[in-house]
């Protein structure tokens, strides 16, 4: 029987013949449970399984939601009456900055990734996401770093420049002290954590779906997370670069944002909002994905217009990048440019509208919706609040209206309607909907309904009056206000509403304390939902991995839960004795190989502590201890990497139905190659943001750019630097060919050549910097000098990373852990190496070529 025939015979309907016959061997389940068992006692902290990490991640994000909510109450109490002096202006500034920062960076983004980590594997039919240690690392770095960052409030050193941190207010002149640094470096670990999560999600969604789960059958939530991961990959690099530039300006006085020296504060706004606007969709699209899962389950109907919703998710994801200037309509940008963004802002309403109509159509076709359950109530609340926020969004996309409403409470009202409607309500719907998937008992319907009504009335009471105060001219970010007619009463209403929201949230917390229990067993498919996460499951996810034939497998294949639990589908045990999952092809989802996954270990936790410590200690200028923490992080990371890329000596494994899978795979098919490709795209996005910054500064300050080639390094410098880069790439290419020959004698020469290639890379940076040092241009003198040296500094960083990877590869070769078959480490190093060389060449062309074009 061929593989294809074997797969077909496993489809339901062929006389009930399933891949694995009954009875299953007695020890099979025991072996599976053993492989996925949690470590006992304190060692549970070393667990990397998504079931534990996902719940911890969600719990921590929810904690930050509560903490930021307390800050909101403080603000609303301060603003309840005119001329109030409860909070000092300085404290108020810190409170509103931290409220926004914590809600966006420590609650919203981590929460959407956390829900993804918890739900995606089971929803896709995988045992876990492909890089469990990366998830654990991302979680711990975020949890530890985030809590310390929040603690800065108690010492009065929290940032106070608004969650958008506009320079020049936040530059060294107007914000001395460590407050702004806490924001800039303090969220470094969030950036790292978000990127790590995005890599995990892209590779997980594309490569670990259950057999038969083609792109056309993928749950909408998985689509939304795929789009969101794409947004993170392209949007976060802009803010990573922005924070880097501002921190360098603050620490070394390189003038990127100082107008007197050719910099421009608008550069920050461009970079920040290029991240900041997609960020809104990074938050909203997963919520939309959850709603698209909840409505079919609650109505008993498949989602109407599945393909249209996919179109809407992808379309919104892309168009969201064309909106960033709509946060900058009053900055004096040319009218035509502003109009492009206004048009894009309206265009994005089209896909958003498509989604809303698809949901309404599904609700209209409902088979079972009454009595209304709590998740559905929150979804209906979401409709109401989000649509209102969307409508005011169209209003502020109209440029002249925006000029009137800019920086008033109208904007505060709009953004809270969108964010609370678009994310918080769906999240509470999801909490009530998916709680039985994790908890032994569902949450209480009665308490849930009370919570909903308190929150729903509270949100409208808080934020609707803000439209009016905004239109009446009340500016945002003021710690108090005079008793203008109407302002006081409306503000008092808003404050009352805020306390109602708090009461609703408190009820949810009480509900969770009373009913949420994790004990290895869950409440099961209480909503009669149709997707795979509702299969009976344990720590190992489902007992066996089914082949799916539709979008709601549990509805279309009624015997599935029992068959899966009996182990009649694929991979019913742990044939290698380790944690493992099936890697499938990215479009048709046909099994390709068996991925061996790591189990518990201290390295992710230690590495995360090192990372958080590095950034936080750097913030308070404790450079040496920070470096020590950095070293700890890298050593722990290397320790965990060392155990990966094992010898693929395991014979092929029969997962049932005649499907024999290899264990591990190298080259472009392997999941680690895919992760590396995503990392390369992230790196290219960071570099792209740098190129934009260079060109933007030139457009605003051409006077600081050289007018003759006399102040540029001679051609010989970049020529030598480029030659060195190319030579290093050639040496790596030679190593690649050498490695393909399976002789062990090649290893020595391979190590020597790779070492030489590392030296060439370093030399290329030294030559480039030496060239610039030979000119009178300095990085502190003008925005031109700062931009030139920053391109070099960025390249130096990448060279350092590649050098570490090169030395690591040499070490593995020296230990006999590199061969023609065991070559993932080398392949990944090679890919990143080529990228660094390409980036170096592009940087040289920009820095040396562009001024010559002008001169």
């Amino acid at each position: 029987m061929t593989k294809a025939e074997a797969l077909d015979s496993a489809r339901p309907g062929n006389d009930g013949e399933l891949p694995n016959p009954l009875p299953r061997p007695a020890e099979e389940l025991e072996r599976l449970e053993q492989a996925w068992r949690y470590p006992p006692g304190i060692r549970v902290l070393t667990e990397v399984n998504n079931n534990i990490i996902g719940v911890l991640y969600i719990g921590t994000a929810f904690l930050f939601f509560l903490l930021a909510g307390v800050l909101a109450l403080l603000m609303r109490t301060q603003l309840a009456v005119p001329e109030n002096h409860l909070l000092a202006p300085e404290t108020y500034n810190q409170v509103f900055t931290m409220h926004g920062t914590v809600m966006m960076f420590l609650f919203a983004v981590p929460m959407v990734e956390a829900v993804g980590v918890l739900l995606l594997p089971n929803m896709l039919g995988a045992r876990d996401l492909p890089f469990p240690r990366l998830s654990a690392y991302a979680y711990w770095a975020y949890a530890v770093g985030g809590l310390v960052f929040f603690g800065s409030l108690f010492w009065g050193v929290a940032p106070r420049g608004g969650w958008f941190m506009y320079p020049p207010l936040t530059s060294y002149e107007f914000s001395p002290g460590d407050n702004a640094d806490f924001w800039l470096l303090g969220i470094g670990f969030i950036e790292i954590s978000a990127i790590a999560g995005a890599i995990e999600i892209v590779v997980g969604v594309l490569r670990t779906r259950a057999p038969g789960m083609t792109l056309a059958r993928m749950p909408i939530y998985a689509w939304s997370m795929l789009v969101v991961a794409g947004l993170i990959i392209f949007a976060f690099p802009a803010v990573i670069l922005a924070t880097l530039l501002l921190e360098v300006e603050r620490s070394f006085q390189w003038p990127f944002f100082i107008a007197a020296k050719g910099g421009d504060p608008l550069l920050w706004q461009h970079l920040f909002w290029f991240f900041g606007h997609p960020e809104v969709y990074i938050i909203f699209l997963p919520a939309a994905g959850m709603v698209s899962m909840i409505i079919p389950a609650m109505t008993g109907r498949p989602l109407v217009g599945y393909r249209l919703v996919v179109l809407a998710l992808v379309g919104t994801g892309f168009l969201s990048f064309g909106l960033w200037v709509h946060h900058m309509f009053t900055t004096g940008i040319p009218q035509l440019s502003v109009s492009f963004f206004s048009a894009a802002s309206m265009a994005v309403a089209v896909p958003s509208g498509i989604q809303v109509f698809a949901w309404i159509a599904t609700v209209a076709a409902a088979r079972r919706m009454r009595p209304l359950k709590t998740p559905m109530l929150f979804v209906l609340g979401f409709f109401f609040i989000f649509v209102l926020g969307g409508l005011t969004g169209v209003m502020v996309a109209v440029v002249p209206f925006d000029w009137q409403a800019h920086d008033t409470y109208f904007i505060v009202a709009h953004l809270h309607y969108v964010l609370i409607g678009g994310m918080v309500f769906p999240l509470f719907a999801a909490l009530y909907f998916w709680a039985p998937y994790v908890s032994r008992k569902p949450l209480s319907e009665r308490i849930g309904k009370w919570a909903f009504w308190l929150m729903f009335i509270g949100v409208n009471l808080t934020f609707f009056p803000m439209h009016l105060t905004g239109l009446a001219g009340m500016p945002r970010r003021v710690y108090t206000y005079a008793d203008h007619p109407g302002w006081g009463a409306l503000n008092l209403l808003s404050t009352g509403g805020a306390y109602l929201i708090a009461a609703g949230v408190l009820l949810v917390v009480i509900d969770m304390a009373l009913h949420f229990r994790i004990s290895g067993r869950n409440a099961g498919n209480v909503w009669n939902a149709g997707t795979l996460e509702w299969l009976p499951n344990g720590n190992y996810a489902s007992r066996s991995i089914p082949r799916v034939t539709g979008r709601e497998p549990l509805w279309e294949q009624p015997g599935l839960p029992r068959e899966v639990e009996q182990g009649r589908w694929y991979l019913p045990g742990a044939p290698t004795g380790r944690r493992e999952t099936v890697v499938t092809s990215p479009i048709e989802a046909e099994p390709q190989y068996l991925l061996l996954m790591p189990g518990p270990g201290w390295s992710p936790l230690v590495s995360a502590l090192g990372t958080a410590g590095f950034f936080l200690l750097l913030t308070v200028k404790m450079v040496l201890p920070a470096l020590l923490f950095g070293v700890v992080a890298i050593v722990a990371l290397l320790k965990w990497l060392w155990a990966s890329d094992p010898e693929p000596d395991h014979p092929r494994v029969d997962i049932g139905g005649g499907v024999l899978l290899p264990v591990q795979m190298t080259g472009p098919s392997s999941h680690s190659w895919w992760a590396m490709v995503v990392l390369v795209i992230v790196s290219a996005s960071i570099f792209g943001s740098m190129v934009f910054s260079y060109l933007f500064l030139w457009t605003v300050s051409p006077d600081v750019w050289p007018t003759s080639t006399a102040v540029l390094p001679g051609w010989v410098w970049p020529a030598i630097s480029a030659s060195l880069l190319l030579a290093s790439a050639m040496l790596v290419r030679w190593c690649n060919r050498r490695l393909l020959r399976a002789e062990s004698s090649t290893q020595r020469s391979l190590q020597a050549v790779l070492g030489a290639a590392v030296l060439l890379l370093f030399a290329s940076v030294v030559v480039e910097v030496a060239g610039h040092l030979s000119t009178p241009v300095s990085p502190t003198q003008s925005a031109y000098g700062a931009a030139v040296y920053m391109v070099g500094a960025l390249q130096a960083f990448f060279v350092a990373v590649v050098a570490c990877m090169g030395l690591y590869t040499i070490a593995r070769s020296a230990c006999g852990m590199l061969s023609a078959r065991r070559r993932q480490t080398f392949d990944n190093t090679r890919l990143f190496w080529y990228y660094a060389v390409a980036q170096g060449l592009a940087g040289l062309a920009l820095v040396h070529g562009f001024p010559r074009l002008l001169a």
């Binding site: 179109l311 379309g315 040319p334 009218q335 492009f340 990215p586 048709e588």
Partner: protein, 118 residues
């Protein structure tokens, strides 16, 4: 699946939005530089030359979109091919709408006048 087949199909799927993104970058970058440099603005039919360049970029982008839709998915399964093709066409339609919408601005607002309240 061979990765190149995946790359082909995924690029086809996202062709519309990718063309839109490149078009958006081009018109925004072009307008930004033209306005920053205050280049002489010869007018024809009431629109400056830079406006006509933006119109030309819109037409070019629509032509590229039309060209992309001639490409067929490579996935072996008919279901996948239908899904990929439908989604690619629909996304291209959305991208075309956004491109037309953005280009229309040329006929409605003056080019480089600063967009701030007067």
């Amino acid at each position: 699946m061979h990765p190149s087949r995946f790359t082909h199909d995924i690029l086809l799927l996202f062709a519309g939005p990718i063309v839109w993104g490149l078009h958006f970058l081009a018109i925004y970058g072009f307008t930004g530089v033209v306005c920053a440099r205050a280049l002489p603005d010869a007018r024809w039919l009431g629109i400056g030359w830079s406006g006509w360049v933006v119109v030309a970029m819109g037409v070019l982008a629509l032509a590229v979109l039309a060209g992309c839709l001639r490409v067929r998915p490579l996935s072996p399964a008919p279901d996948d091919r239908r899904f990929l093709r439908w989604t690619a066409v629909a996304l291209a339609g959305l991208a075309a709408l956004a491109i037309v919408w953005e280009t229309l601005a040329v006929f409605l607002v003056p080019g480089c006048a600063p967009g701030v309240p007067g």
